[in-house]
């Protein structure tokens, strides 16, 4: 009996170890694939020679900080950074306020015409005005060339709104009832009772919105045409795309220039690293928020 049990246990242990080993090695391979693009950019950004000059390398060829010096010296990078930070901070703050104040009433069963309002919101998930009508709207509201053209059109995302609404619906009604007995009104309940409970979902939505704002460039390309108004992603695009058009669109010999690969890599990293750093800090709320907020009708 005992011998049989021992063998059983040993087999089980072997199975567990084998599983763990395979699991870890798979994860390592996956992580490498995810990390490699960054690693590649990282090494090229410190390489003096043009990175097109040879394939795979984990170490910078001809180490130099020159690429970063040149990125820092570009006046467009400074203004681009400022514009991106401005739109991200402003956009995230306003989006959170608008999304939560809209989601709260929609999460209440007693809210009049609740289904109608929800349907209106969901409608925008499937149909949009299209590029030109949206541009006309933004232009006629005189938002063109201001930061508001980057913040207001995407202020409330229907998808985020529904996730927040669903999250709020999972909060027990008794929590609010007890506050009401203590004499709190709706505003106090929202800010003192509901919001603290909603921390995970706030962190999640904030991260999503912030990342979206950080990465967005197309709206800026359309709405903001004044000098110094470009966001970092557009500046980066300009630097990276330079020289990739061919003779048909090239006009003269003097425009016959291209950005060295190392400089491209440095620019990309400068544009990407800050938002990447935001992830670890919200990680702990993030998983919880995404799980709880899943769609439950």
């Amino acid at each position: 009996m005992t011998i049989a049990r021992n063998i059983n246990r040993r087999e089980r242990e072997f199975g567990e170890h084998a599983f763990t080993a395979i699991n870890y090695s798979l994860m390592a391979v996956l992580s490498f694939f995810t990390l490699y693009p960054f690693l590649f950019l990282f090494t090229s950004s410190f390489s003096g020679l043009d990175a097109s000059l040879g394939g795979f390398s984990l170490w910078p060829r001809a180490f130099t900080l020159d690429n970063y010096v040149r990125v820092a010296a570009n006046p467009l990078v400074a203004s681009g950074y400022w514009n991106t930070i401005l739109r991200t901070v402003l956009g995230t703050a306003l989006s959170l306020i608008a999304t939560f104040t809209l989601a709260y009433p929609l999460s209440k069963k007693s809210f009049p015409l609740r289904n109608f309002w929800t349907a209106l919101v969901v409608f925008t998930m499937f149909f949009s005005g299209g590029l030109i009508p949206t541009y006309l709207l933004v232009k006629n509201l005189r938002l063109v060339d201001t930061v508001w053209s980057l913040v207001l059109p995407e202020l409330v995302s229907a998808y985020n709104l529904i996730i927040v609404r669903n999250y709020m619906q999972t909060i027990p009604a008794s929590l609010e009832e007890s506050a009401r007995i203590d004499g709190a009104n709706d505003i106090v309940i929202l800010f003192r009772i509901i919001l603290p409970v909603c921390k995970p979902i706030i962190a999640t939505i904030a991260l999503w919105v912030a990342v979206w704002h950080w990465n967005a460039w197309f709206d800026c390309m359309i709405y903001v045409n004044k000098a110094g108004g470009e966001v970092m992603q557009l500046v980066m695009r300009r630097i990276v795309m330079l020289g990739s058009t061919d003779q048909i669109t090239q006009m003269m010999a003097e425009q016959d220039i291209a950005t060295p690969e190392g400089l491209k890599a440095a620019t990309i990293l400068v544009a990407t690293i800050p938002i990447l750093c935001a992830y670890p800090f919200v990680q702990k709320y993030f998983v919880k928020g995404v799980m709880v907020g899943s769609l439950k009708g």
């Binding site: 030109i132 232009k139 390309m221 359309i222 045409n225 300009r238 990739s244 061919d246 003269m252």
Partner: protein, 530 residues
């Protein structure tokens, strides 16, 4: 005005104050001015490398010269036509519009956003421009006509009078014992076989090829055609018809030869994906990485090795030239590599030829809104005229700013300019100072040392050109589909997946898919011009 509205919408937002402070500084006060004087405000959309501020110095210079106010509509070059279309659809029609693709002129005319011009208007208001085009690019003004009406003002490349280069690895040639750079197709063929078979890189492995996709230009050129260009259709007269090079019997003969070379292992099997692997467009990665020994990619100046001609340096002294953009990459990768630039190859007919890029680069048009205001329209044309000033100093300073401040004329005889630091490293500064108002593509004969070198290579001779350089409506309509059919057929024939006789079947398919219709249109277009 803006502020109060913002405050209304977002009184609660604490950040509003910071934001409006930072963004209102640009302010749009353009609407208020203009009424007080007769100075028209001219809006311009042109190629630019970065946005132009409203107070850029050249905007003032132009304004003083022509008593007008200028406003640059900054449009990101990367998605130029998409963004221009959004502006046009919303009723913002710039007064001077650059059409990045010459093909699109017809479309914009049909949309009714382009003002009608007459030859007299151009002669009167832009005499220098008119003279420049008629003396250095005769016939190009005609290309801006649609149904007999002048709409477009052509931008013509000054350097595309030279055909594309024939670039050989000279060190490989020496290795396989060939001293003479090929002049005929037969000599070329024998060299390509040697490049593929005789281990020219000396590594003991059979890992080299003669040529790849861009090298085909030289072979097709020897037969007098450009049938396999990635994006552009080339047209030729044949009898009383105008036909696409793609559908010519010359192309078929060349294909037969290339297919034979492919079978013998002379062609890089990766030709299907092209020689460039991204990044700077002019680089042939296949050549600089030592896979192939010949290419015709890009222009002569990209491949100039150091010291092939004498340039003028910043101090005005003669000095060996700096390497061209691609030559520089090649040297960095392989310091022992050497290049030889050859002549266009003589084909079976005894005539040498190779593709020449279209000289027509793009069009400038006047916006429809200026049509009602003849005084303004005249000023738009006068604006362009400044870029065509016969004096090099004048026409260069309306684009690159004041001489002595941004650049220096180091050799007046060869019209050589050098950028003054830091502008030599800041290639987009001209956009920032308002050089956007200038027209690019003024076909004055190039005089610089680099171009003298191209003349010495005889690259101004033997270029195969297209008799039609604009996109005609029917041709444009079927272009994507026809190019797909062509690529499929040409690649199958080259790789041997289909025999050469498949060309007849391909022709039928091609003609039925719109090729015949496009041919008819092209024939009528040329007839109408004569």
């Amino acid at each position: 005005m803006n502020g109060s509205k913002r405050r209304m919408i977002l009184a609660a937002a604490a950040l509003a104050a910071i934001a409006s402070g930072a963004w209102a500084s640009g302010g749009q006060d353009g609407a208020a001015t203009g009424a007080e004087t007769k100075r028209p405000t001219i809006t311009v959309a042109n190629y630019q490398m970065e946005p132009t501020p409203e107070d850029a110095e050249l905007l003032k210079l132009y304004g003083d010269k022509l008593s007008a106010d200028y406003k640059v509509i900054n449009i990101n070059h990367d998605k130029y036509h998409e963004l221009l279309n959004v502006k046009l659809a919303s009723g913002e029609i710039p007064d001077l519009i650059y059409l990045r693709q010459a093909d699109t002129l017809g479309t914009y005319v049909k949309q009714g956003v382009v003002a009608k011009l007459t030859e007299d208007m151009i002669k009167q208001n832009a005499p220098d421009l008119y003279k420049m085009l008629s003396s250095y690019a005769p016939g190009f003004l005609e290309m801006g006509k649609i149904n007999g009406v002048q709409y477009g003002i052509p931008a013509v490349s000054p350097t595309n009078i030279f055909h594309i280069p024939l670039v050989y690895r000279a060190d490989w040639m020496r290795k396989v014992g060939v001293t003479k750079v090929p002049e005929t197709l037969a000599e070329f063929e024998s060299l390509m076989y040697k490049f593929a078979k005789e281990d020219p890189d000396g590594n003991g492995k059979n890992d080299t090829y003669g040529l790849s996709r861009d090298g085909f230009f030289a072979v097709f050129g020897a037969f007098g055609v450009v049938p396999f260009h990635e994006k552009t259709d080339y047209w030729m007269k044949q009898g009383d018809k105008v036909i696409n090079h793609t559908a010519s019997s010359n192309a078929r003969q060349a294909l037969e030869l290339i297919a034979k070379w492919y079978k013998d292992g002379v062609i890089d099997p990766e030709f299907v994906t092209g020689e460039n692997q991204g990044g700077y467009w002019a680089i042939s990665h296949a050549l600089i990485n030592g896979r192939i020994g010949f290419t015709s990619r890009a222009n002569y100046y990209h491949w100039a090795m150091p010291g092939v001609y004498q340039d003028v340096d910043a101090a005005g002294n003669r000095a060996p030239n700096q390497p061209g953009a691609v030559a520089k990459e090649l040297i960095a990768l392989n310091p022992k590599a050497e290049l030889a630039l050859g002549q266009a190859l003589k084909g079976p007919s005894g005539v040498a030829g190779i593709m020449e890029f279209n000289r027509l680069m793009n069009f400038y048009v006047v916006g429809k809104l200026a049509e009602q205001d003849p005084a303004k329209l005249a000023k738009v044309l006068q604006t362009l005229n400044l870029s065509a000033n016969p004096d090099y100093l004048t026409r260069t300073s309306v684009k690159y700013g004041q001489e002595g401040k941004y650049w220096k004329l180091v050799d007046p005889a060869s019209e050589t300019m050098n950028m003054i630091p830091p502008y030599d490293k800041d290639q987009s500064y001209w956009s920032r100072i308002g050089g956007v108002l200038a027209m690019s593509g003024t076909p004055f004969p190039p005089k610089a040392a680099r171009e003298q070198w191209a003349y010495s290579l005889k690259y101004d001779q033997g270029g195969v050109k297209s008799v039609i350089q604009v996109g005609l409506p029917t041709a444009m309509k079927y272009k994507a589909e026809l190019m797909k059919i062509r690529d499929e057929a040409y690649i199958s024939i080259i790789t041997g997946a289909k025999p050469v006789s498949y060309f007849d079947e391909f022709l039928q398919k091609y003609m039925a898919a719109g090729g015949a219709e496009a041919e008819k249109e092209a024939t009528e277009f040329i007839k109408a011009q004569m």
